[in-house]
């Protein structure tokens, strides 16, 4: 029961989606339509997993007064605070829009933008012509960088742009396509393993 039921559900739901795509019979298509809607609902209901996980981890931290417990309070206040405000005023209220645009937007955008510092310091420390391969990589990267920033063309002339476009259009398309054809096959094989139930690692952590 604990094994067969989930594997059966995976197989039946998946096979309908596959066959409805390739085969024409109307009832397949109808079943597929309903299953797709169900999938959307199930996926949406997973939305509180983040809140649940964080609540679990951070309430433990609070209870034990372990290092950094104060930050757990910060987390709870911002998480539940945001939800309470959003639920009480809705998504079109000015309060919500201001809160979203001035907390989530700057935080999300700035967290990732910190990477610019790492790429700058890695440029100095790590990107070295240690091997022939690293050298090819760096030379191509340098040309593309010059081709993408307007200053490259202003200083070196239009050949930088032409070279960049050629790199993107010919060797890049060839290399990326080679990688992607392989990756697509890998994805298909993985999906097949899950569908027929020989891949079960994803059930890990749900008890035996």
């Amino acid at each position: 029961m604990r094994k067969v039921l989930p594997l059966g559900i995976t197989f039946v739901s998946g096979i309908i989606v596959v066959l409805a795509n390739f085969l024409a019979p109307a009832w397949f298509v109808a079943a597929n339509r309903e299953i797709s809607l169900w999938f959307q609902i199930v996926a949406a209901l997973f939305c509180a997993l983040g809140v649940a996980n964080l609540t679990r981890i951070h309430s433990k931290r609070l209870a034990r007064h372990s290092e950094g417990w104060f930050f757990s309070i910060v987390l709870f206040v911002s998480m539940f605070g945001f939800m309470i405000i959003a639920f009480s005023v809705g998504q079109q209220d000015d309060l919500y829009r201001n809160l979203y645009n001035n907390t989530i937007v700057p935080l999300n955008a700035t967290m990732y933008s910190v990477l610019v510092f790492y790429i700058a310091s890695a440029a100095y420390r790590a990107f070295r012509v240690r091997t022939l391969e690293a050298t090819i990589l760096l030379i191509t990267a340098a040309i593309v960088m010059l081709g993408k920033a307007p200053i490259g063309e202003a200083v070196f002339g239009s050949w930088v742009v032409d070279a960049t476009n050629w790199i993107l259009d010919i060797p890049n398309v060839a290399g990326m396509r080679g990688i992607q054809l392989g990756a697509t096959l890998g994805g298909l094989a993985m999906a097949l393993r899950v569908l027929v139930g020989i891949e079960r690692t994803h059930f890990g952590g749900t008890g035996e």
Binding site: V17, L45, L107, L137, G175, A191, G205
Partner: protein, 199 residues
């Protein structure tokens, strides 16, 4: 000249606080990090609720009782927090992964494999076409794992590796622009919306 909008001040504070991190981990950064994690998790819930869950509950209210089934399946995922019945959360995972894998098997092969193969059927009468065709072939050969890379196969595989290195170099160069763009966006915000230095 700075803005007197308190919301912009809040956004500016959060932005600057994030930038203390590269200079060393510190309490201000840890504070905003937790605000970030908390609000993002809360947002997932509210956005899904307003745009999807609430209207579908209304549909059930309108008599589409069949929709109760996916609601039950979806809620089962939370059983993983209750030890004795943790296994029933597998039902939700199983359904979700079943449909997702079915979707990959249904949709990927044509546009991501066959169309790509067909697009490589280029007449070999032009140096760029020849490079493209043999570039794709050699990079595929590089990824053959049941054939030893010796002799002709070895030469082709080595050529394939070089072609891919050029592609990866292009990815490297493009990433620089991506990372700088992220930073530019924040500097634009600080200089124009907060400090009014630049229009």
């Amino acid at each position: 000249m700075v803005t007197n909008n308190p919301w912009i001040w809040l956004a500016a504070f959060l932005t600057l606080a994030c930038y203390t991190f590269p200079f060393g981990d510190n309490p201000v950064y840890r504070f905003v990090e937790h605000v970030f994690v908390g609000t993002s998790a809360g947002y997932m819930v509210t956005a899904n609720w307003f745009n999807w869950i609430k209207p579908n509950l209304a549909e059930i209210g309108n008599g589409r009782y069949l929709l109760i089934v996916p609601f039950v399946i979806g809620i089962l995922i939370y059983a993983r927090y209750i030890k004795p019945i943790a296994w029933v959360s597998r039902i939700a995972i199983a359904f979700n992964l079943g449909v997702a894998s079915g979707f990959i098997l249904a949709k990927d092969i044509k546009p991501l494999f066959i169309t790509q193969v067909i697009a490589t059927f280029q007449p070999l009468d032009d140096i760029n076409n020849i490079l493209l065709v043999f570039g794709v072939i050699t990079s595929l050969i590089y990824f053959l794992f049941t054939v030893e890379h010796k002799g002709a196969v070895g030469v082709a595989a080595q050529a394939g590796r070089w072609v891919m290195l050029i592609a990866l170099g292009a990815a490297f160069g493009s990433t620089v622009m991506a990372r700088v763009s992220l930073f530019l966006g924040r500097v634009q915000f600080l200089l124009s919306e907060w400090l009014f230095i630049v229009k």
